[in-house]
């Protein structure tokens, strides 16, 4: 009985828990405003996804938001990965009290909340408040812990002999790092990339404090603005057009990296 019961249950759960919200988003983003005022599950009587997305691009400054998001998130992810890998290598291979202390400190960000208000203070003093470098620095600082944690666990499982063999051939540390360690890190890099992207791409809280609104607003900040105008405009159709556009890049990243993400989580988090 369970042989058929289990897939049936999975289908039911998927339909109710994921299918219904997804359906709501897709149909509402294709409805004209008059139909979308009271969001419901009816298919649109009049399909106009094109017009809605055009509106979202024009009114919601979607393209600028997209560009701003990319300009902040991509450098953050790259920095988190490169700096994190270097640190993780040292933390995984060296053994001393100082190393353990530095490691514990560097992954403390997994548990501790970032002090978002005083970050603003510090950035103002550094002249980085409201700028992209400031935002990148904050994201990098916040998410380094995640990548260091995953990568250190992963490197510990890589046999030292691989490095030693290269060393005997005369390779210097930088060469060993770039040619041996980094390529082996590929699965965990995929995991860290998606984790950091997940957080940074959808972050509005820290972006609000650091970037504010203005010219440099990222996609989530724009979505917030569009949705906050909701009270006066009743623009669910635009809100959901925005939701679709914001989610697609993440879905794409996930689909590309799916296999590696799972193996990275397996080896990094649960051992």
């Amino acid at each position: 009985m369970w042989r058929y019961g289990r897939p049936a249950l999975v289908l039911l759960l998927a339909g109710l828990a994921v299918g219904v919200p997804l359906w709501l988003v897709l149909v509402t983003s294709a409805k004209p405003q008059a139909e979308a005022i009271r969001p419901n599950l009816d298919p649109p009587a009049h399909w106009q996804p094109g017009a809605n997305y055009e509106d979202a691009v024009a009114q919601g400054e979607m393209l600028r938001g997209l560009l701003n998001s990319l300009l902040v998130v991509v450098p953050s992810v790259v920095l988190v990965l490169i700096l994190g890998a270097g640190a993780a290598w040292v933390f995984a291979r060296r053994k001393s009290r100082l190393v353990s202390a530095a490691y514990a400190l560097c992954i403390s960000g997994l548990l501790l909340p970032p002090a978002v208000i005083t970050i603003v203070m510090e950035l103002r003093q550094l002249g980085l408040a409201g700028t992209r470098p400031g935002m990148i620095a904050v994201y990098t600082g916040m998410y380094l812990s995640t990548s260091i944690f995953f990568m250190t666990g992963f490197i510990r499982a890589i046999p030292m002999e691989l490095e030693e063999a290269a060393r005997i051939d005369g390779a210097k540390p930088f060469r060993i790092f770039a040619r041996i360690v980094l390529p082996l890190l590929r699965p965990v890099i995929a995991t860290a990339t998606i984790m950091v992207m997940l957080y940074a791409w959808s972050d509005i809280f820290y972006a609000f404090f650091v970037l504010g609104g203005g010219d440099r607003a990222t996609l989530p900040l724009n979505l917030y603005k569009v949705a906050s105008a909701q009270l006066y405009l009743n623009n669910w159709h635009l809100v959901f057009a925005y939701v679709v556009v914001m989610s697609l890049p993440m879905v794409a990243v996930f689909l590309v990296g799916q296999r590696k993400i799972v193996s990275g989580i397996t080896s990094g988090a649960v051992k």
Binding site: V20, R38, G86, A87, G109, I117, P173, F205, V251
Partner: protein, 307 residues
Amino acid sequence: MADTAVRTRKQAPTRGEPRRVGRLPRAAVHHPWWFALPAIVVFAGFFLVPNLLNFYYPFTNWSSYHADIAFTGLDNFTTIADDGTLVRAIRTTLLYALLAAVFQNAFGLVLALLLEDDTRFNRFFRAVFFLPVLISALATGYVFQALLDQDGAVNAVLGTDIPWLGSTTWTLVVVTLIHGWKWMGLSMLIYLAGLKGIPGDMLEAARMDGAGPWRTFWSVRWPMLAPALTFNVTTALIGSMNTFDIVQATTGGGPAASTEVFNIYMFRIFGQGLYAQASAMSLVLFLVVVAVAIPLVIGLRRREQLL
């Protein structure tokens, strides 16, 4: 999970490497510190320093109304304590974190057990249940606002008129259910990884001894899932104490401040220009997280070793 943030037991050095090559210890030659330095500098500069500053600014009058910053002692804390915000925010946040962690883990574990076998069907549905993780929390909030609004889709389908997001008692539970829904895919993935790590001959042996599915679950699977549980519960609990987007998008902290968690309060008060007061709340959040995280990690690690 070999390394949680707090180590409860010191690991004995496993490899006694002879230090003979050159004058420097081997490690310094082969794995030089400067590979770690940039990360340490950035982390210290943009994470640790603000957290240290957060032990000073709550005791000042820093706001958009003062040109200079002066020390004012405990004023900010007495303000938020006297108007009742402090206790309410602590209570709301802890309750939110607890419920969110329970829902997220329960959903995740059920999904992992349902989708355990590595079939094509299961792999597809794992991705389907991971979808909410990929959608931003803010967007998730708006989706559920549209679903649960009194004029929304759920009431339309059920033919009811329930104010899902308008109850001072139950809305917090509804919002934590949404939080659990959004993150269940990540818990599922980690539980799946844990299930995959259970040696096949162990399950085989249990079956040979005549254990049914329930017995196998409680005696073999569940204890072997301890590291996954530690990771999931810790990240879920700590992560949800830092929640913002879902609450902001669904209720904005309402009704009647019944869902006003720390970050919502900070967001609101910072917007009013009362920076030091927001910073005071941020310090309280920090202390509450520390007070929860350390016993939690130690307790769960000890449990892991017992099982």
